[in-house]
Amino acid sequence: MLSISITKGRIMEQCLPLLRYLGFTDAALKSRQLVLRNVSGDRQLFILRGRDALTCVRYGVADIAIVGKDMLLEYGSEGVYELLYTNLARCRLVLAGIRPPPKDSHLRVATKYTKMTNQYCIENGWQAEIIPIYGSAEISPLIGIADYIVDITASGKTLQANNLNILATIADISARVVINAAALHTKHQEIQQFKGHVISVIGSG
């Protein structure tokens, strides 16, 4: 039995052809159930938020996870291997604000990516206060919580609609197939077979 945790939302939507190929029925995929079994009963699927999908594979509850690279960068990839790079759910992690940061100022940056933001500010020599915000970060400069935000964007339209400019790209993001390090050793053949399915159905980057 191979257990797969998948990030709900855009990644799962783009993985639907793969999930159907793996034997998960449309009826099951459209249901509100968060744990699914495929028709042949040899694969189970956990539908979770990105961070939780990663946690499942790190803790060995799932053998495989399909998560955004942003999750790996922010929460670490200890105990997992990156099996495959895909072109699914492509976007960018960006610094955005109304105007570029003035030199020698103390920045206030709102983000849910606190670790990566802190690292980015240190690399650029910026003194910064990181304000954790877990909803729509775009609102932060408008209501005065922070002057800048760090968030992911695909088209940049939401940022634009909120009068924010992309000031820098911190990282290019796309979905990755990651595996539990021990599962690679104990379920090697099943994992290689799964990798083959991913490449043939959705391709690799």
């Binding site: 060995g60 997992v80 291997y81 790079y85 021990a182 599962a183 690679l184 050793h185 104990t186 290689q192």
Partner: protein, 326 residues
């Protein structure tokens, strides 16, 4: 709530304690039958000794504090291997070969894996003074015997050799290799390529390092790796040949053992100098035992000689015994 334990620390209650004690006795009996003699090093010692050899990962795992009595820094051991190396170099230095075993609680500043205790009970064996295949084989056979005595589930033995990575990195002109090693550890070819592309590395060498992320699998991967690396990097060819010989000998003695080969693996506290290995259990997504060759680990104590060792954690094994029973 002063009675609550810190995160990662745990009490062992009677049912579990009895299982651990039973395992400890059975496994120590096996070690003794193979001529491994029990040592009991102290829980703490001077950090200069405990961390001799500049093992960065080990230092990060070790609690350090000031000793008011001596004015020096003490460390609470996070690993017993360096302590046995000190014993081999100074206390038992007259022996041509030292076979040592131990069962000790170690303390970690942070959990080493998910769910892991920060105070595991480590059972280990170290062999000093036997080089090459003979020593490798002896320790691995002991490991398999110990695990089979404790657990009835099939074991997968993963083998690698740090010489492969060392050889590729030694001629790689990077100011710091930490990021690259991390990317290799996660087998991420894109990250490895992106790190290397920022430096002036010739395309063939870059390709050789990136390809390493895919060099894991069953025994066929050794042939593939040999064909790919041996001409340009003879040291890698030798390391792969050694792995083949070792596997052949192990298969002869333990025909039903499953193998996996991982040439980019960099396990443990990075004091390893050749063969590295890890044991996995079917249906359990964590390492249950590991070890490797650490020739020269005694050098900071004044005695550099061949060494190889293994260790496993008794709390983990006892919980797996419980799972098997259920």
């Amino acid at each position: 709530m002063n009675w609550l334990l810190p995160e990662g620390m745990d009490d062992i209650l009677p049912d579990q304690a009895e299982k651990i004690e039973q395992l400890r006795r059975e496994m120590l009996d096996i070690c003794c039958a193979e001529n491994y003699r029990l040592v009991i090093p102290p829980l703490m010692e001077y950090s200069a000794s405990l961390l001799a050899g500049h093992h960065e990962d080990l230092a990060l795992s070790t609690f350090l504090f000031h000793d008011h009595h001596s004015g020096r820094q003490l460390g609470l051991r996070a690993d017993v291997t360096t302590q046995t190396a000190r014993i081999d170099a100074h206390r038992l230095c007259h022996n041509e070969v030292n076979r040592l075993c131990y069962v000790e609680t170690v303390v970690h500043t942070h959990s080493q894996t998910m769910y892991a205790s920060r105070c595991p009970i480590q059972l280990g064996a170290e062999l000093y003074g036997v080089k090459g295949l003979q020593g490798d084989l002896e320790i691995l056979l002991l490991l398999v015997r110990l695990l089979r005595a404790a657990l009835s589930r099939p074991i997968v033995l993963s083998l690698g050799d740090t010489q492969v990575l060392e050889t590729l990195l030694s001629s790689c002109p990077l100011p710091t290799k930490k990021l690259l090693i991390e990317a290799l550890r996660h087998k991420s070819p894109n990250d490895v390529r992106s790190i290397l592309s920022a430096h002036s590395i010739d395309a063939a060498h870059l390709d050789a390092i990136v390809t390493l992320t895919a060099m894991h699998g069953d025994i066929a991967i050794l042939d593939e790796a040999h064909q790919f690396y041996a001409n340009k990097f003879p040291a890698i060819g030798t390391a792969i040949d050694n792995l083949r010989h070792l596997t052949h000998r192990l298969k002869k003695q333990v025909p039903d053992l499953s193998f996996y080969f991982d040439l980019s693996e960099y396990l443990g506290y990075r004091y390893h100098t050749g063969l590295v290995f890890a044991a996995y259990l079917s249906g359990y997504n964590y390492v249950i035992a590991n070890g490797g060759r650490c020739d020269g680990i005694g050098a900071p104590y004044g005695k550099s000689r061949p060494a190889i060792g293994m260790n496993t954690h008794l709390k983990t094994l006892a919980s797996l015994v419980a799972t098997s029973v259920q």
